[in-house]
């Protein structure tokens, strides 16, 4: 090996990103800049989109070997190891553990019929699935695309990892972006599908929920859901464990760590490594555009599903249910519930729907986890 000046400089240049960048990588770097902009300036779910965008940036610099697996004696790249938590399906359930520890299911317990809305608002999942099939995607890919309509990042990531990893970054980015865009996506649909009179409906106050009910709730939900649909165990199980740690009142320190430090650590790792899968050659495909469009369709039809059942419940209850709370069933907690609140108040300034929308809202988390479990049972393994 000779270390002549020119040779070495040449070697360094030849191994630099400038000499090796493909156009796809350069485009992806620009895309990551746009995502960073959206996360930081437009506040698009920054907690996940910022790490995703940065992961995408890192993964598209040429020659870094960040994603390379181990080779003989040589260990793998940093993002290869961090990605293992995604690959092995570990991070999304841990995020759900934190979400469970952060979620108050009280409004849902006070009005169990919220769960119907949380079911109806999964409608978009299946519409998008069908359209994806029609566009030529495989069933596995179509299911992964459809799950965007669940409006739940960890669920979407979990299912896609199991069924069709190639689409992981596109689906994750679409899911989180549309969650951030809920305040723009939902209101037009809400106004289109409901009458002013419906939107003006005031709902009776929710009853008080006892501590005991809240403690038993996670046990009941996990038992019933997982018995009915075993494939849903990692998601619902961890969600409900987190909720039990929260509500039991005797494990506060575990609950706090689950919803703060553990969740933050996992969020950083999950975001960066999901973003890192958005390597140029795979991401810059027509498929990605399709995914992004189908994702929007999924969100829209999930909103529609929730609203339509809301209208039905309004009618059946003799006008006691405001259909606007139906759209909150898509989950996207708590954004979608806030949208219901805002639209309700626009129709009737003294209307206060937030608490009523929180029921369907948290039901939607369970709903999309169940939908993911069904897809996994049908197409996984």
């Amino acid at each position: 090996m000779t270390y002549s000046l020119t040779d070495t400089l040449l070697k360094i240049w030849e191994m630099s990103g400038f000499a090796n960048a493909t156009w796809q990588q350069l485009v992806m770097i620009l895309v990551s800049f746009v995502l960073i902009y959206l996360a930081v300036v437009k506040h698009f779910e920054p907690l996940l989109l910022l790490p995703i965008a940065f992961g995408m940036l890192l993964a598209n610099f040429p020659m870094t070997d960040l994603l390379a697996g181990p080779l003989g004696d040589q260990p793998g790249g940093l993002l290869y190891y961090i990605y293992q938590g995604v690959e092995l399906g570990i991070y999304p359930p841990l995020i759900f553990l934190g979400i469970g520890a952060m979620t108050d299911f009280g409004p849902l317990i006070a009005r169990p019929s919220s769960l119907f809305l949380g079911a109806a608002a999964q409608f978009g999942i299946y519409i998008a699935f069908l359209l994806a099939l029609a566009l030529g995607f495989s069933p596995e890919a179509a299911a992964s695309i459809g799950i965007i309509g669940g409006a739940d990042g960890p669920t979407a990531i979990w299912l896609t990892t199991k069924l069709y990893q190639d689409l992981l970054p596109a689906i994750a980015i679409a899911a989180y972006s549309y969650m951030a865009l809920i305040p723009m996506i939902q209101p037009p649909i809400m106004r289109l599908l409901t009458t002013k009179k419906e939107r003006e409906v005031k709902m009776v106050q929710l009853r008080e929920v006892s501590k005991a009910e809240k403690i038993v709730f996670p046990v009941v939900v996990s038992t019933l859901c997982i018995l009915l649909l075993p494939s849903v165990a990692p998601l619902i199980g961890m969600l409900m464990l987190g909720n039990l740690l929260r509500e039991s009142g005797v494990t506060e320190r575990l609950s706090k760590t689950a919803q703060n430090e553990l969740m933050n650590i996992v969020t950083i790792f999950l975001g960066v490594s999901v973003g890192a899968k958005a390597v140029g050659e795979k991401f810059l495909q027509l498929e990605t555009i399709k995914v992004i469009i189908l994702g929007l369709v999924a969100f829209a039809f999930s909103t529609v599903g929730g609203l339509l059942l809301g209208k039905l419940m309004c009618w059946l209850s003799g006008g006691k249910v405001n259909p606007l709370i139906g759209s909150a069933g898509v989950s996207a907690v708590p954004m979608a519930a806030r949208v219901s609140q805002i639209e309700g108040q626009k129709a009737n300034p003294s209307n206060f729907l937030l608490m009523h929308a929180m029921g369907p809202n948290v039901a939607g988390v369970i709903g999309s986890a169940v939908a993911a479990g069904i897809f996994y049972a049908l197409f996984g393994g």
Binding site: P112, S114, L115, A120, Y126, E213, V221, L224, C225, I374
Partner: protein, 104 residues
């Protein structure tokens, strides 16, 4: 997979989601009803509880206390209890400490 099969997946999938969530809804209602029964039976419960409380107090009087230490190590707590007892000239057996909590 044909579109027809896809449609079946739609029906089955959404149907199952509904089934599961309706089942859940039933279970949660049932749970609430059961708890409500208990609550009704315990309409006098608060009263009973108060009695229990008083018994507890008596017990505590005889035993210097059921003591919760919050963020306080026992050494400090012991010191505090001893100091309070000493300063106030009340024997420890007659002092009730509900809890000793560190502000930190």
């Amino acid at each position: 997979m044909t579109l027809l099969e896809g449609l079946q997946v739609l029906v089955i999938g959404l149907g199952t989601v509904f089934l599961v969530l309706i089942a859940l809804s039933g279970a949660v209602s049932l749970e609430s009803r059961i708890f409500n029964l208990f609550v009704k039976n315990r309409k006098e419960a608060p009263a009973a509880e108060i009695t229990a409380k008083q018994e507890e107090v008596t017990v505590i009087n005889a035993s210097a206390g059921e003591l919760k230490l919050i963020n306080v190590d026992e050494r400090t707590a012991a010191m505090i209890m001893a100091i309070v007892s000493d300063e106030s000239q009340i024997p420890l057996s007659e002092l009730k400490f509900k809890y000793i909590k560190a502000l930190d």
